[in-house]
Amino acid sequence: MKISCEEAAHICTKSQYKEAGFWEIQKLRLHIFMCKTCAQFTRKNKTLTTLCNKAGLNVLSESDKNTMKQDLEKHL
């Protein structure tokens, strides 16, 4: 059941996208219980997820950007 901090961070990041498995999460919980640094990291990671959701971010797709780049280059 014991995992390294590195592994814990990895699971934590995965769980932000709901892609961590059940046992992984149990392992993470146990680790957080014992490790303050990882507990803090997890808290921050969660906050980041909340912030990203709250901000309602938009991005242009890569293809849109490439078209833009090409158009721009023509004018350079």
């Binding site: 990671n45 912030l51 971010l57 950007k65 721009l72």
Partner: protein, 184 residues
């Protein structure tokens, strides 16, 4: 001292998403927003010789984009009658009461500040994302903002999942650091 100079060849990579977010928040239509960003880049290119270098590149581009947004609203409102707001009293004829309050009351109005704050937050995040290495920001955007599945991203970029998670992890750690002062 010319503290800033223009490098148009880097504009799309560095500012497209930032400007796009700014525009989407104002015109609420991603197609129009995209066009406005494109026009902004062109206009920037055309008036590059007027750039004095006393503002940062991005500030300068945002200033142009602002004008483009205003122009956009002028254009769509220029035809007569288009700008009219038509309100009829509630369709079910039975209701009586405070006309204005009923028709115009905005149940979400207390979110006014939130919307503003969220937009600022969005721009702050976008700014931090633009500071990431190109590959990391690409993966982060695909995963977090476009919500693509791990498998799709791996296929598209030709990387394996553990590779992807490492990049996402680094990106997130960097973002936490970058946003730390203002938002945590």
């Amino acid at each position: 001292m010319a503290a800033h100079e223009l490098r148009p060849e880097t504009w799309v990579d560095r500012y497209a998403d930032y400007l796009f977010n700014y525009a989407v928040a104002r015109v609420s239509d991603s197609e129009i927003a995209k066009d406005l960003v494109q026009e902004t880049f062109f206009a920037g290119l055309n008036s590059a010789k007027n750039y004095k270098g006393d503002a940062a590149e991005r500030t300068w581009l945002i200033a142009i984009l602002k004008r483009k947004v205003i122009d956009h609203y002028r254009k769509i409102n220029s035809k007569k009658g288009k700008a009219e707001v038509r309100i009829n009293y509630s369709s079910d004829a039975d209701s009586e009461g405070d006309w204005l309050e009923e028709q115009v009351a905005d149940p979400f109005s207390k979110d006014g500040d939130n919307t503003l704050e969220n937009e600022e937050l969005g721009l702050a995040i976008q700014e931090c994302i633009s500071k990431l290495p190109k590959k990391q920001s690409l993966v982060f955007n695909m995963k977090t903002i476009q919500g693509m599945s791990t498998e799709d991203i791996c296929n598209e970029l030709g990387i394996n999942p553990s590779n992807l998670w490492v990049m996402i992890h680094r990106a997130r750690a960097a973002l936490m650091g970058c946003l730390n002062q203002n938002w945590f």
